[in-house]
């Protein structure tokens, strides 16, 4: 058992190493350099060279690579080209906003989707199942920006219930609870849009799992034993479906950050997604490199976490452990 975990850890480290090197070369593969966007006839070639020097880009590539690796391993990410501020500061400003957006959205979509999926499996053949299947499919099918822009126009302009942009009012309200309510009010539309778009795939998937689980023989046995339906549903069928659900939950965490780009653009939120996109487009190597690195770490960590939690949640494995 320990051998298995050791091997997993080592392979994860290998993955991180490969991704690290890949990131370095991938960015520099893109033609152009950080001065490319500074197109101004008053910026002479000499001035441009001075700028490149101040970024440390006049050093030979191998030296740049070593500096890069050192920075990544020690988590000292250097200075962003575009803003001349420490990359850590930029990330620290933006990460909370992205997390505040994505975590509630992911949790709420998963919970809503699970509840609907279970309800659909329970009410098989009835209106409930039909509604859930249809609404789930619709939720999955609409492009995200479409729904978000329509929501914005409807609920922030036509009927100005929610704010148009940002995560805080200007000037920010005073007092802790006022701040909290203000934040929630601002995040409602973005989170709601993500939940509307996200519950569909959860609902459909959970419904499939539950239907399969309810069709198993042990359920028939439980019914024959006279156990209550709701207990069968949750303690037996759902418990069986739980491991894949948990796995999918952890595996969907990393992908969600990429999806934040569009939401952050539409709602003018100060988050990581847009930051990353701008960094890549603007050849901001330190910022882009650091963001990529962190996201890769999160992905690898989530993969490991998924495996760990799986062993706790899968009844067959946990029984084996208890013995």
């Amino acid at each position: 058992m320990n051998n298995y975990w050791l091997k997993r850890l080592l392979s994860s480290l290998l993955v991180i190493a490969v991704v690290l090197s890949l990131n370095f070369f991938l960015f520099r593969l893109m033609p152009g350099d950080p001065t490319s966007s500074l197109l101004d006839p008053r910026f002479s070639p000499e001035a441009k060279h001075e700028l490149l020097k101040s970024y440390g880009l006049d050093k030979p590539l191998s030296q740049q690579f070593f500096i890069y690796v050192k920075q990544m391993l020690t988590f000292k990410f250097g200075i962003s080209f575009m803003s001349q501020r420490p990359v850590w500061q930029e990330l620290a400003e933006r990460l909370p906003n992205t997390l505040l957006l994505l975590f509630p959205a992911l949790l709420l979509s998963a919970v809503l989707g699970i509840l609907l999926g279970v309800a659909a499996a329970k009410g098989r053949g009835g209106l409930v199942e039909k509604t859930v299947l249809l609404s789930g499919a619709i939720s999955f099918s609409f492009p995200s920006f479409f729904v978000q822009l329509v929501l914005l126009l409807l609920l922030a302009h036509a009927f100005p219930i929610f704010p148009l942009r940002g995560s805080l009012s200007v000037p920010p309200p005073v007092g802790f609870w006022n701040l909290v309510t203000d934040k929630i009010w601002h995040m409602t539309l973005p989170v709601a849009s993500l939940v509307l778009l996200g519950f569909g795939s959860w609902a459909l998937y959970v419904r499939n799992l539950m239907v399969k689980a309810l069709g198993e023989d042990f359920i028939l046995l439980a019914r024959a034993k006279g156990i209550r339906e709701s207990r069968i549903l949750w303690r037996h069928a759902f418990r069986t479906a739980l491991p894949p659900i948990v796995t999918i939950f952890f595996l969907s965490l990393p992908g969600v950050i990429s999806g934040a780009v569009i939401t952050e653009t539409v709602f003018s939120l100060h988050g990581i997604g847009k930051f990353l996109l701008d960094a890549v487009l603007g050849h901001d190597y330190p910022a882009a490199g650091a963001a990529f690195y962190l996201m890769s770490l999160v992905t690898v960590a989530c993969n490991l976490l998924a495996d760990v939690v799986y062993t706790f949640v899968d009844p067959r494995i946990s029984f084996r452990r208890l013995r």
């Binding site: 392979s11 098989r124 499919a137 995200s144 399969k212 069709g215 950050i257 990429s258 780009v261 990353l276």
Partner: protein, 393 residues
């Protein structure tokens, strides 16, 4: 099981539309009308476009509808001698407007458009005003003529635009949006189907090999899967589109490269479980080569599930392409629905209320995805009959 259900009918309709109707419509990238025209059926009280030629000094016409969106006067005016006092006038029931001063030259090219800011300033109007609504504010008789102290030869065309065109209007380049919409069907289908097909093929191939061979091959394939999963997709797509350029096949390839991992994992676990089956042991004992076992036994077992996965993966690919187009990362010459939405948003269709530019492609994407999900579910039910949507308890 009936083949002709709503979803397949819908898809057939779309395919017919795109392959039979679209060649009849003309090239999608052609400029057909002024930009930002509204659909013809919207607001019927706005009158019909007018195009008249003035060969004599005076041209009279009537205008009985709402003020038009724009008008233009183009052509040539030549005088027998250089005039000391000459002007091009447009007379409305209430006022006379001097469009252009013609004195001092013997031959003149006239190119006047109501959108020109210099014209607005010349007429003493605010540069943000719509000149045609000011001039054509009354219903009645209008005339266009050249007033001069010398004889003039006039060859002018006056065009009055109502800003309407076609079924869905025009976009910012004056292209017919309906043509673009129909073209978009083809592109969404192509991208969705091919990206998923390629991804599934790669996934199935690598999954089978990894599951069956095990050992080092298995580990290396799984590590590659992990590496690819650890790379954030969107920024990589930006980099790749920067290096490879944009185009239909670039997008298809890029989408396939980043979506085969799921299929590979599923196929691999299926292969692992099948490998332990007794009949496989028997086959191996009989000396059957690995390839034979894989092709003649595993693939047929895996096929229903794979088919379901593929069809269910198509909506994902279509949505991914829409997302990429929305961020501007797709080929600008390729009128996919995502691209249409991107251009609509960039040019202010959402806040400008031009819903005919937004709902067709948006609903198009959604209904196409719904159709594929519906078909995919039926394949799923074929693979695992327990999942059938029952009609009664």
């Amino acid at each position: 099981m009936s083949f002709w259900r709503l979803d397949t009918l819908f898809l057939t309709f779309l395919v017919l539309l795109t392959f039979i109707v679209s060649p009849m419509l003309g090239p999608a990238n052609e400029t057909v009308a002024p930009p930002f025209c509204k659909p013809l059926w919207l607001d019927p009280a706005s009158g019909r476009p007018l195009s008249l030629n003035a060969k004599d000094n005076i041209l009279s016409f009537t205008w009985e509808s709402k003020p038009p969106k724009a008008f233009s006067v183009k052509g040539t005016v030549s005088f027998e001698e250089v005039p000391k006092d000459a002007a091009l006038l447009l007379v409305s029931p209430k006022k006379t407007y001097k469009l252009m001063d013609l004195a001092g030259l013997k031959n003149l090219d006239v190119d006047i458009d109501s959108r020109d800011v210099p014209l607005k300033l010349h007429l003493g109007l605010n540069p943000f005003v719509e000149v045609s609504s000011v001039i054509f504010s009354e219903k009645g008789t209008y005339s266009l003529y050249v007033r001069s102290d010398v004889k003039a030869h006039v060859n002018l065309n006056i065009n009055i635009y109502t800003g309407k065109w076609g079924i869905f209007g025009t976009d910012q380049r004056g292209r017919d949006v309906f043509r673009l919409f129909v073209q978009g069907i083809k592109i969404s289908l192509l991208v969705g189907i091919f990206a998923t097909l390629i991804a599934s093929t790669i996934g199935m191939g690598l999954g089978l090999i990894a599951g069956y061979l095990g050992g080092l091959t298995d580990s290396s394939i799984m590590r590659t899967v992990d590496v690819l999963l650890a790379i954030p997709t969107l920024p990589i797509l930006v980099v790749i589109s920067g290096v490879w350029g944009r185009g239909l096949w670039q997008i298809v390839l890029v989408l396939s490269i980043f979506s085969w991992m799921g299929t590979a994992r599923v196929v691999r676990s299926l292969t692992l479980s099948l490998r332990e089956a007794p009949y496989v042991e028997g086959l191996r004992a009989l000396g059957a080569p690995a390839g034979y076992i894989l092709v003649r036994h595993f693939i047929p077992e895996a096929l229903p599930l794979l088919l379901a996965q593929t069809v269910l993966g198509v909506p994902g690919a279509i949505l991914a392409e829409a997302g990429l187009s929305f961020l501007g990362l797709s080929d600008p010459l390729m009128p996919s629905w995502g691209r249409m939405l991107h251009e609509a948003q960039v040019f202010g269709a959402f806040t400008g209320g031009a819903w005919w530019l937004i709902f067709p492609p948006g609903l198009g994407i959604a209904s196409l995805c719904l159709a594929f999900i519906s078909i995919g579910r039926r394949f799923e039910e074929m693979a695992d009959p327990r999942l059938k949507e029952m009609t009664g308890r």
